[in-house]
Structures are given as structure tokens and as C-alpha cells.
Amino acid sequence: MAEEFLVATDLHKSFNEHKAVDGVSFTIHKGEIFGLLGPNGAGKTTTIRMLATVLEPDKGDVTIGGHSIKHDADSVRALIGVCPQELALYEDLSALDNMVFFGRMVGLDGKEAKEQAQKHLKMMGLEKRAKGRVAKFSGGMKRRINLAIALMGHPELLFLDEPTVGIDPQSRNNIYETIEGLRDGGMTILYTTHYMEEANRLCHRVAIIDGGKIIALDTPHNLKKKIGPPDKVTLEDVFLKLTGRSLRD
């Protein structure tokens, strides 16, 4: 078993009276793609925001690479890359300038930032659009840039918050292939989605989250096996069985 790279312990977060995350605990091993699967509003994004040091948990803690998000957030931020659910780009800048800028923000010098930016743009199939203004890009291309920025600085742990929402099949496939390449390269990834096929295809283990709580956590194969033959049932069936409703409700 690989070492535990991320350990989340009893995380709680409320907004006013609403409990967005209610006692979430899990671990992610080095080199693992860990899926957080749940419907909209289940608490996936709030969990990621806490793990990425943007939100402070009301209770509980997380260690990443041995560093606490509460007590050593700077060290945590040096290990992570975040691809937020919403596009986080400067539309007036070119793709290359966006990537170089965020590269500088994660501590790369100008030359390194440019080299990495060009490499990641090539990986995303956007090297020919490097100097194009992001504002002119399609939604799928923006999503790819959004992901590419998260890779700047070669983070040890990547948070991907629904990176394929609302995009064309070509861009989605490109993102899948990129993530599979990262997985094969040994990168540790936390992946949130409400698409079953993504979780099934990409993740080593999946935690199903609903109402701010993790209600099941295992490999996709084992989760499906609990309710029937794994080749006959889907993760959607698992969710339906566990909660009594569909993931898309």
C-alpha cells in the first residue's frame, strides 16, 4: 500500500445554519486518483475548498504531505494544484500569458514558467492557440486551459473540481486522456464529479457523498459488487440504492 498523502479527519463546515460538510473523513494515497462522487450541493466543492486552504474548517483537520491545512497552510499550498469548477482565467490575456502568470504565482521563475506553460499547452492540444486571447476560446478550450494552469509548478496533489462540466466531447476526451497520463505518471489526484462514467473510468477509489456526509467509499468495482454483478450495475445504481434518488436529482 502506498503512503497516505492526504488525510482528512472529521471535517465540518456550515454556512449559517446549513451544514455543507458534516464529519467527512478519508485518506488519499500517493499516486491514487480518488473520486468524490455526489449530486450538486452534496458538499464536494466545499470539501475541496477546505482541502485547498481557501476555506477554514469549522472542525476537523487535513494533513497533506504531513502538513496541516490549519497550521501550515503555506506548505500545503506548495504541494497542491487546483482546477476549480468555475473557469478561473484572465480572459483579456492570452492562454500562454495566463499560464505564465499563474506559474509565477506558484513560485516558478519566468523561464521555467514559460517552458512549463508551453509543455502543458501542447499536452492539452492548444499549442497553436498559445497566443490567442482566452476570451475568444470555446468553452471546451477554456476548460482545458483551466486544467493546464493547475498543472503549473508540477504539484504533488491535484484537485480537479468537476473539470468536464458543460464541454464538448473533444475537449472532454482530451481532459480524460490528460488525467490518465497524469495517473500513469504517478500524480495524486482528488477528482470530483457527478458523471458516473468519469468516476468509473478514471478513479482508483470513489467516495459517494450526499448531504455533506460520505455514505460509501471503495473502489468502483467493490461499490458496484455490493448491489449486484459489477459488469451489470453502474455507480448510478449504487447511488440510487444508497440514497433512494438519482445523482442528477
Binding site: A52, V82, P84, L87, Y90, D92, L93, M105
Partner: protein, 378 residues
């Protein structure tokens, strides 16, 4: 400053404002008035001469009115002064009798009326002089049989020569363009410019929030303090560069600075831009949308401009004066006026510079604290 068009506009704006100032204050003469005249001696030789000479004055336009019109306008205060040329004006002069012009005016005739009246008096004196010369020459040559036409030509030549090379000449030397209005208005224009930094700073954080880049930046190695300080510096730079352009143009064209006062003005502009930017950051820390940031900033900007002496002086001792001491614009305006209009130096501006620098430091710290305690802050 990610948008090149935005950058270009930022740099162009002070040039446009300066151009407006130049056209407003840069001409050789500031006065241009109208002489409202009722000519009851229509067709008279000497009234025609008078009107021609009035029309030859560059600063004065002549508007002829009927007596009824003029009386009505004077009665309604539509005009403050009218010049009447009486019916017997030319006849009297031709007969060697004294003639009179009549100035009808409300009160003192207003500033314009007084200046026009003084110009008309000048023309009348010239005509008097002309008559005196003619009379004296005619008198001296009365016993000789010199044709009147020759006398007229010789006198006219003498008068022309006298006009071109007067015994007592006034020489005008222009040193740059007329500077006084610039001295008066430049401090206000500069401070208003810098105050726009409040609005731009106020939007800095919410714009990042709307784009989603704020959250992304907060997951990098950039600390919130560094983020705030970076935005603060960027806004100071914009305000300062714009002010630099404006002051440099004023220096070159209006020549109202010495090299030292120019540098001193830049120091004030820098500290004032820091104070304005810090206030903007305070608004940025509490605003939740670009609209709210803009409107809060516009409110504070307008109040500070009003209270800061940009548009009107506030008398010492009044309640408004006490309130105006809470406007950073007051201190910046005072500082610029001391340097530009009163010939002071930075050494005279301890209070003003201290207040502005204090606002910059306290504002920046306060903005950081507010960002931490506000919902969704960090």
C-alpha cells in the same frame, strides 16, 4: 492591468484632460467680450469711425441694438451695460463741438461691461487725440493757403506713425501661456485624477472574485497580504503615472514649475495616490459585487472632491470646514496649492504629507483585517 485597451485609455486620459485645460487656459488672451451698442447716429461719419475702431479690437465683438431692445434688455437684466451713440454725435464733432457717448448700466455694469467700457474709453481717447491734432494743425496753417486734402494726408500719416511708434510704448512679453488659471485649477484636476484610484482599487478584489481568479490565487503561494499589497501598488502606479503625464505636460506647456517644485509635486502625487488606493482597498475588502464597489467608491470620491476644495473654498470655522478635514482631498489640494500657487516647499507640508501617508498605511492594514473578518474572507 491586463487589458491593453484599458492601459492605452489610462495613459490617454491625462493627455485629453490636459488638452482641455490648454484650450481653456492656454490662449494669449483670456478676455473676450461684447460691446452692446445703440447707434442713434446711423450713417454718421464719426459714429462709423467709432464702430470701425471698436470692431478692430480683437477682444471685443460689437452687437448693434435698437434703443427699445437695449432698454428692454437692461430692464430685464439680460444686459448689464449698453453704449449709446447719440443722434448728434457726428454733427457735433463735425462742428467742432464736444460730443458725448452714453454708458447705461445696471449697477457697475458687471466685469465684462467694465472691461468693454474701458476699451471704448480708449477708442474715444484716440478719436479725441485725432481731433486735437487736426484742429491744432488746421489752426496753425489757417493763414497759409495749404489745401485741406494735403493737411488731412499729412495728419493721417503722422497719426499712423504715432500709432506704430508711440512716444510711450507698452511692450508685452509672453512667458509661456497665461498661468494663473492653471495655478488655480491644476491642483483640483490632479487630485480628482488621483481620486479615481479609489474606484479602480475598490473593484480590484471583486473583479478577481467574479472571474474566479481570486480563489485560484489564494491556493498559490501568494499570501493574502501580498495579493493586497500587489493590488495596492498597481493602483498607485496607475494614478501616479497619469498624474506624472498631467504634471509633465503642465510643466512643459504652462511652465508653472521649477524643476524642484515639479519633483515635489510628484512626491505629493505619489503619497496621495497611495492614500486613495488604500481607501479603495478598504472598500474592496467589504464590497461583494463590482456594482457595490463602484458605487461606494463613487460616493466617497464625490464627497471628498466636494469637501476637498476642488470646486469651492470652504471658510474656516464652519461645520463644513470641520467635516472637510476628514477628506484626504483637502490635504492633497492644500499641498498642491502651497507648492503651485503659493511657492511653498515640501518643508511646509508636514501635516498634509503626514495625514496622507497615515491614511495609506492605516487603510492598507484595515483592508487586510476587513478581508479576513468579512464572510467568505480569508
Amino acid at each position: 492591468m491586463q487589458d491593453k485597451a484599458d492601459l492605452a485609455f489610462s495613459l490617454l486620459l491625462p493627455i485629453v484632460i490636459f488638452a482641455l485645460m490648454y484650450f481653456a487656459f492656454g490662449g494669449a488672451s483670456l478676455f473676450h467680450g461684447t460691446a452692446h451698442v445703440v447707434n442713434e447716429d446711423e450713417g454718421g461719419a464719426y459714429s462709423t469711425v467709432l464702430l470701425d475702431q471698436l470692431e478692430a479690437i480683437e477682444e471685443v465683438d460689437v452687437e448693434l441694438l435698437t434703443a427699445e431692445d437695449a432698454d428692454q434688455k437692461l430692464a430685464n437684466s439680460d444686459l448689464l451695460m449698453v453704449i449709446y451713440i447719440p443722434e448728434d454725435f457726428s454733427q457735433n464733432l463735425a462742428a467742432g463741438e464736444p460730443a458725448q457717448l452714453l454708458f447705461k448700466q445696471r449697477g457697475n455694469g458687471g466685469d465684462e461691461g467694465q472691461i468693454v467700457a474701458s476699451l471704448v474709453r480708449g477708442v474715444a481717447e484716440q478719436i479725441n487725440l485725432q481731433f486735437q491734432v487736426y484742429n491744432e494743425v488746421n489752426l496753425a496753417l489757417a493763414e497759409y493757403d495749404v489745401p485741406q486734402e494735403n493737411i488731412n494726408i499729412t495728419v493721417e500719416q503722422y497719426l499712423d506713425q504715432e500709432r506704430q511708434s508711440p512716444t510711450v510704448a507698452v511692450h508685452e512679453e509672453t512667458i509661456g501661456s497665461s498661468p494663473d488659471p492653471v495655478n488655480l485649477f491644476l491642483p483640483g484636476v490632479v487630485t480628482m485624477f488621483v481620486l479615481f484610484a479609489i474606484t479602480i482599487s475598490a473593484r480590484a478584489i471583486v473583479e478577481e472574485r467574479r472571474k474566479g481568479t481570486l480563489e485560484r490565487l489564494l491556493t498559490t503561494r501568494l499570501s493574502v497580504g501580498e495579493l493586497f499589497f500587489g493590488k495596492f501598488l498597481s493602483n498607485i502606479s496607475r494614478g501616479f503615472v497619469q498624474t506624472l503625464i498631467l504634471l509633465a505636460l503642465a510643466y512643459i506647456v504652462f511652465q508653472i514649475f521649477t524643476p524642484l517644485t515639479f519633483i515635489e509635486c510628484l512626491v505629493i502625487a505619489l503619497i496621495f495616490a497611495a492614500a486613495a488606493s488604500a481607501l479603495g482597498m478598504v472598500i474592496a475588502a467589504v464590497a461583494r459585487s463590482e456594482d457595490s464597489a463602484t458605487w461606494i467608491a463613487v460616493f466617497f470620491t464625490m464627497v471628498m472632491v466636494m469637501l476637498g476644495g476642488t470646486f469651492f473654498e470652504i471658510g474656516k470655522g464652519s461645520v463644513l470646514y470641520t467635516i472637510s478635514q476628514f477628506s484626504i482631498n483637502t490635504y492633497a489640494n492644500d499641498a498642491f496649492k502651497t507648492l503651485i500657487a503659493e511657492g511653498g516647499s515640501l518643508g511646509d507640508l508636514g501635516l498634509e504629507l503626514g495625514v496622507l501617508a497615515g491614511v495609506a498605511v492605516v487603510g492598507l492594514i484595515l483592508s487586510r483585517i476587513l478581508f479576513k473578518v468579512m464572510p467568505g474572507g480569508k
